[in-house]
């Protein structure tokens, strides 16, 4: 039996715009074991969402998967027929989005929309069964008076409650993997804490795997087992949550962690990452972080770095870890 639930190999996704080809995801590989929580961190334009949309088959024109493979539970997603894919999306993998306001249909009741997911999973089921299961789902996501709430419309729900409904709909198909794309970005901190707690709780109960996409390092620190850091359509670093936070290797990850205002240290000046976010239309020839990197060497400008493994199971794409690189690399890194 396959140990990996999801295996992505050299995935490339491009958008063909009038201004040129935008390489949103530019050759990424990772795998995910069942029941694990994977955090994908990156800023806007890093390709974190696009890479996950391609798992769901949500890449639409002018976007296209131009290379690589996605294997879920032993099946190649890209060779699936339409019928297989329909069954796959929703029942094997489900997704929740950043903005719960726009993800629900305003003209149908919550009950209707949850029923749709259930029918998608189970086909013909009786009305009583449908209602019973819908109530179970709403109870699971912590919505009070589920019976009454089923008959209500999305506008009668607050932001946090709508996100709970979205989670209930995602859970209807009992998926093996839940992709959560910035699930709490649109919510207030106290509501964010509620939703994250709920996700953790459900993950424990159901044992499903979660891919958590976010720009907030605080959220992944709490939830994730493993972390992938993306920049400019590439994975720059991946490792366990502890090794990423305790011994980050890539200058970008280091910069990100350093630029966070530390709750425990006031008064010190923040150390920002210099420069501006990357322009995906004009990717640099070499490492995409090179123009902003304090450790940039000649090789970085002209050649894409390979991926290097470190002893703690960490993988990093940076020339500093090449054996030919200057041994002072680690020292210079503090600059």
């Amino acid at each position: 039996m396959n140990k990996e639930l999801l295996k992505i190999n050299d995935l490339k996704v491009s958008f063909f715009t009038p201004a040129g080809e935008v390489k949103a995801v530019n050759g990424i590989s990772y795998s995910l074991e069942p029941g694990k929580v994977l955090g994908i961190v990156g800023e806007s334009g890093s390709g974190k969402s696009v890479s996950s949309y391609s798992i769901m088959g949500l890449i639409d024109k002018p976007g296209k998967i131009v290379g690589g493979s996605i294997v879920f539970d032993g099946k190649d997603v890209s060779t699936m027929t339409k019928a297989e894919r329909l069954n796959f999306a929703g029942n094997e993998v489900a997704m929740i989005f950043q903005d719960p306001m726009t993800c629900l249909n305003p003209v149908f009741t919550i009950g209707n929309q949850i029923a749709e997911s259930l029918i998608h999973k189970y086909g013909k089921i009786s009305k009583e069964e449908l209602k019973k299961r819908s109530i179970e789902l709403l109870t699971l996501v912590g919505i009070n008076e589920p019976e009454k709430r089923l008959a209500q419309y999305p506008h009668e729900f607050s932001g946090g409650m709508r996100q709970r409904v979205m989670i209930a709909m995602a859970l209807a198909g009992s998926p093996k993997l839940l992709i959560a794309d910035e699930p709490t970005t649109a919510l207030d901190v106290t509501i964010q804490a509620q939703i994250l707690e709920l996700l953790k709780d459900i993950q424990k109960k159901t044992g499903m795997a979660i891919i958590l996409i976010t720009h907030d390092l605080g959220i992944v620190a709490d939830m994730a087992d493993d972390i992938i850091v993306m920049y400019g359509g590439k994975i720059v670093e991946q490792g366990s949550v502890y090794s990423i936070f305790n011994s980050p290797r890539h200058p970008y990850t280091k910069g990100l962690l350093r630029s966070l205002p530390d709750l425990n240290k006031k008064g010190e000046k923040l150390i920002p990452i210099q420069g501006n976010p990357i322009d995906l239309l004009n990717l640099p020839k070499g490492c995409s972080f090179a123009p902003r990197c304090g450790n940039c060497m000649k090789v970085c400008i002209n050649h894409m770095p390979e991926e290097y493994s470190t002893e703690d199971g960490h993988r990093v794409s940076c020339w500093l870890y090449d054996s030919r690189a200057n041994n002072n690399a680690e020292v210079k890194n503090n600059g």
Partner: protein
């Protein structure tokens, strides 16, 4: 860019702060009349009876969830909204009563930096027009040459290239746009700036740049900031004192160190544990206080203490009486019946 007009003591804000009050906000109320979809009239009490001081040279943080009234409060202080009741006293002058012409003089001393660097810049104006407009309104440039020179200086000051002056906003990234917004605000040599979520719309790697720029400007130009944010990490880093808002009230106000070490209001306590901690060891171990429910509607707020519906410690008295905003220990203001006893 010298700040000729301000008479701030040169000794830096820490020593100057306690003596010099720049802005006094007294019993400020900002109500909005709304009509519901069924035509019923209702009043939203966005800011309800708020009293506090802003000291010269300090950064006062305002935190709270959406709908807590922090942005409204910032705008009412500048009279972008006409306050319903109460007074705002700027350097001894009650600006809530000023006529339009006189107000302009005070507007020059008080500026605003907006959250969204995309919506707050006119797409049809060049950078030099955007920054120059502020100079024109307050007649701060003596000649065309002087105006161009001033704009160049301002751009340099906020970390933009002087060649950028003739470009349009769409040519800039979010962080650069926010710099333009800062240049526009400091162009009129203000004493006080309301920074309304100045980094929330920016990428994480850019936030630190903008925070540093704001801090530099404060040092160089002796600015006083009211810093509105929902990000408690950023607030802790930038602010000297912090006010916590909930449904139109300030529920706690204290030095920021003290707020994070010893929060007295149960809402502040919950808010602090709700912040995602970017350290897996701390994050996975700590006990979060998860609040039940959500912030109630400001149209129909709960009686008594407005936080009682979500408060884990609420008792009968909380339903009946609005807790007084009182000092508990030096400079630590809390509005809770059980402050210090929880």
């Amino acid at each position: 860019m010298a700040n000729n007009e301000s008479k701030t003591s040169p000794s830096g804000y820490n020593s100057a702060r306690k003596q010099d009050v720049l802005i006094e906000v007294k019993n400020l109320k900002q109500y909005f009349n709304i009509k519901s979809s069924l035509g019923k009239k209702a009043t939203v009490k966005a800011v309800d009876d708020v009293t506090f001081n802003i000291y010269k040279g300090e950064t006062l943080g305002l935190v709270g969830e959406s709908g807590s009234g922090k942005t409204t409060l910032g705008r009412s202080i500048l009279r972008i909204y006409e306050p319903t009741a109460g007074r705002v006293i700027f350097s001894g002058v009650d600006i809530t009563k000023l006529k339009k012409g006189k107000l302009l003089h005070y507007r020059k001393k008080m500026q605003y930096i907006f959250q969204d660097p995309y919506a707050s810049l006119d797409p049809r104006m060049t950078v030099s027009d955007i920054v120059g407009e502020a100079l024109d309104i307050h007649k701060l440039a003596t000649s065309k040459k002087d105006r161009a020179e001033k704009i160049r200086e301002l751009l340099k000051l906020v970390g933009l290239n002087t060649e950028h002056a003739s470009r349009y906003p769409h040519e800039f990234s979010g962080g650069q746009r926010q710099r333009i917004g800062i240049a526009r605000a400091i162009a009129v040599e203000p004493e006080f700036i309301v920074c309304d979520e100045p980094v929330s719309a920016l990428d994480v790697s850019i936030r630190a740049q903008i925070i540093n720029t704001l801090e530099e400007m404060q040092e160089r130009l002796n600015l006083t900031y009211l810093f509105i944010s929902h990000d408690l990490g950023v607030v802790r880093h930038t602010c000297d004192r912090v006010g916590v808002m909930y449904l139109g009230h300030i529920v706690e106000l204290v030095e920021s160190e003290e707020l994070y070490k010893n929060p007295l209001h149960p809402y502040t306590q919950a808010l602090l544990t709700a912040i995602p901690e970017p350290d897996p060891e701390v994050a996975k171990k700590r006990n979060r206080i998860i609040l039940k429910g959500e912030i109630p509607s400001p149209v129909n707020p709960p009686s008594g203490c407005k936080f009682r519906t979500r408060c884990p410690f609420a008792k009968d008295i909380c339903k009946k009486e609005i807790p007084e905003f009182k000092e508990h220990g030096s400079g630590h203001y809390v509005a809770c019946h059980f402050a210090g006893k929880l």
